[in-house]
Each structure stands twice: as C-alpha cells, then as structure tokens.
C-alpha cells in the first residue's frame, strides 16, 4: 500500500500535468477580468489552489479547462465583486441603432479593404479599452467564446446560466464591442467615411473644426475633440456595470 505522502505526491504531479497547460489561458482571462497583472496573478494562483484542493471532486471525462474557469469565475465573484458598484441600465435599442448606423455607413470602406488594413494601426490599448467598456457579464462571454474558444454549453456551465442567456449576452456583447471598435477606427482616422480607406497616424489628427453638440452624435462626427471624449469614456468604464434582469433575454432560434 502506498503511504499517504506518496499518494499526495502522485496526486500533486497528476494535477500539475493536467492543470498547468491552462495557466496562460486562465491568466489571460484573469487579466481581462481584474484589469491588472497583480490581481490577475493572485486570482489565478487562488484558482489553482482551490482546484487542487477539490481535485478529487472533478468528474473524470468532463471538461477540465471549463472546470478551472468555473472555479476562477466563482473566486472572482467572491473576492472582487463584493465592492461592485451599482449596476447601470443599458439602453440596448440605442446600441442597436447606433451599431446599424456605424456599420452601414462604414461598410463600403470596410469591404474594400480585404486585408483589414484599416485596423492595422489601431493600438492594442484601444482594443483593450473597447473590451473594458463592456459590462462585466458581456465581457466574460465574449472572452470565453471568442478568445478561449469555449462552446455555448461550456460557457453556460462556467457561468451557471442557461445557454439562451449565453447567446443573448454574446449577441449584445459582440455588437457593443464592434460598435466601439468601429467608432475608434473612425475617430482616429483609420476609416474615413465617403473617402477611400487610408490610414493616418494619430499624430496627424487635425484639430476639430467644430464641436459636436452631444456625445450621442459622436458616431457621425469623426472630428470630435479627442481628449474630452476620452475622459468621458474613462468615466463610463469605471462605473459601467450591468446585470441582466429576468425576462430581458432575447430568444434566438438556431434550428
């Protein structure tokens, strides 16, 4: 019979071999969740320690990566969301409308450019910031689906919600993200509506000739005062959180 010590050693080794390949994935998602490397490291470490502690509870044959992500999600909620700010309501019909406006207006430029050069100059920071404008629940599904490649069913398991909720959040989350990216692309001159697609660096950004009356119009006003708008954006990001209410889900028929 194996000694308890030998058994523990073996289990530790087994766990390490199974779990360590996911450390980059977990860290990557943790970083997007916490928005800084120190918290992300702590979150991942705590996730691993919990996973190891409950390793015997893991059901053989189920998805180990999804199991780790679920532990991380729960740990995050327990540790970091206690200090959560009051959720804000989001007007999805407004998002839908402005999305349609921005995509229709820019479609000719976007389609003309098969190598997606339009976005080449966009900074990683912009992409990160665009992602951070999403409410937490929406950001999570987009990350899990589009970056980590989980299926809808796996995401539903990780987040403890129905598949319909995952789809609804994906639908809206992606829409919000795309809208923001297109806004940035336009604002910094990567796409110029009505002109052939061309790229300009931010240094070339001309001074605004006129100021737009309100931020709601900013999609149609590429010459917006840059600094001012970014400040508004940062403030939004800070307090932008949202929870789905019962009955607010959209229905999607896949069959």
């Amino acid at each position: 019979m194996k000694s308890a010590e030998a058994y523990e050693h073996e289990q530790g080794w087994d766990f390490e071999r199974a779990a360590m390949p996911y450390v980059d994935s977990l860290y990557n998602t943790a970083y997007r969740m916490t928005r800084n490397s120190e918290d992300a490291e702590d979150l991942v470490q705590e996730t691993y320690l919990k996973a190891y502690k409950y390793y015997d509870k893991f059901e053989e044959g189920t998805n180990f990566k999804a199991w780790l992500f679920k532990i991380m999600k729960n740990t995050f909620i327990n540790n970091y969301r206690k200090k959560k700010l009051t959720p804000h309501k989001i007007d999805f019909s407004e998002i839908e409308e402005s999305y349609e406006r921005v995509i229709q207006k820019n479609a000719p430029d976007l389609i003309k450019d098969p190598e997606s050069e339009i976005f080449q100059d966009m900074m990683d920071e912009d992409v990160k910031r665009a992602l951070d404008t999403l409410p937490h629940d929406y950001k999570m599904v987009v990350l899990l689906a589009d970056i980590e490649g989980f299926s809808y069913k796996e995401i539903a398991e990780i987040l403890d919600c129905p598949v319909g909720t995952v789809m609804s959040r994906l639908y809206r989350g992606r829409k919000m993200l795309e809208r923001t990216l297109l806004e940035y692309a336009k604002k910094y001159g990567y796409i110029r509506s009505g002109e052939p697609a061309k790229m300009r660096s931010r240094k070339d950004e001309t001074k605004p000739k006129k100021k737009s009356a309100g931020t709601a119009e900013s999609l149609d006003e590429p010459e917006e005062a840059e600094g001012e708008d970014l400040e508004l954006f940062a403030a939004d990001t800070e307090e932008f959180d949202f929870e789905i209410e019962e009955g607010q889900e959209e229905e999607f028929q896949l069959e």
Binding site: V23, Y27, L254
Partner: protein
C-alpha cells in the same frame, strides 16, 4: 430568411452553431443579398482582429513557480483558503 433575421443570427452562423436548415436559408440569402454578404465578411474580419489583438498574454514565470511550489506541498495549502 430576410435581412433582419440574418442580422440576428449572423454571429451564431460564424460560430458554426446554426442548424442545417437555417444555415442553408442563410447561405441562400447571402447569395442574393450583397449587403448582408458584406456584413458577414465584415463581422468575420472584426472578430479575427479582436482575437489577434487580445490573445497575447502569457502568465509570468513567477506565477507558474508559485503555483507549482504550492501544489508540490512546499507551501501549505491550508490557511487563506
């Protein structure tokens, strides 16, 4: 399938999650409607772009070491957990 329906399911199509029947409806629509066809191409590019830009972080070595030390029992697992 109309343009509005297509817009609702375009992302699910790109995820490969549409049922067979709905998928062929969608493809038939794309053949006839340039606007929707363009849109699907744009969505595909946007998604690829986001994926390229965001999937770059690797865990720092010190984090791997911290985890491995803990799991190998060099640091007691009890305590804060």
């Amino acid at each position: 399938m109309g343009c509005d329906d297509l817009r609702r399911v375009a992302h699910f199509y790109l995820d490969g999650q549409l049922g067979e029947g709905k998928c062929s409806d969608l493809l038939r629509h794309l053949e006839q409607c340039k606007e929707c066809d363009d849109r699907v191409v744009i969505l595909k590019r946007l998604r690829l772009f986001v994926r390229c830009r965001l999937n770059r972080l690797t865990a720092p070595d010190r984090l791997r070491q911290r985890i491995q030390s803990a799991v190998n029992g060099r640091i007691p697992l009890s305590g804060s957990l």
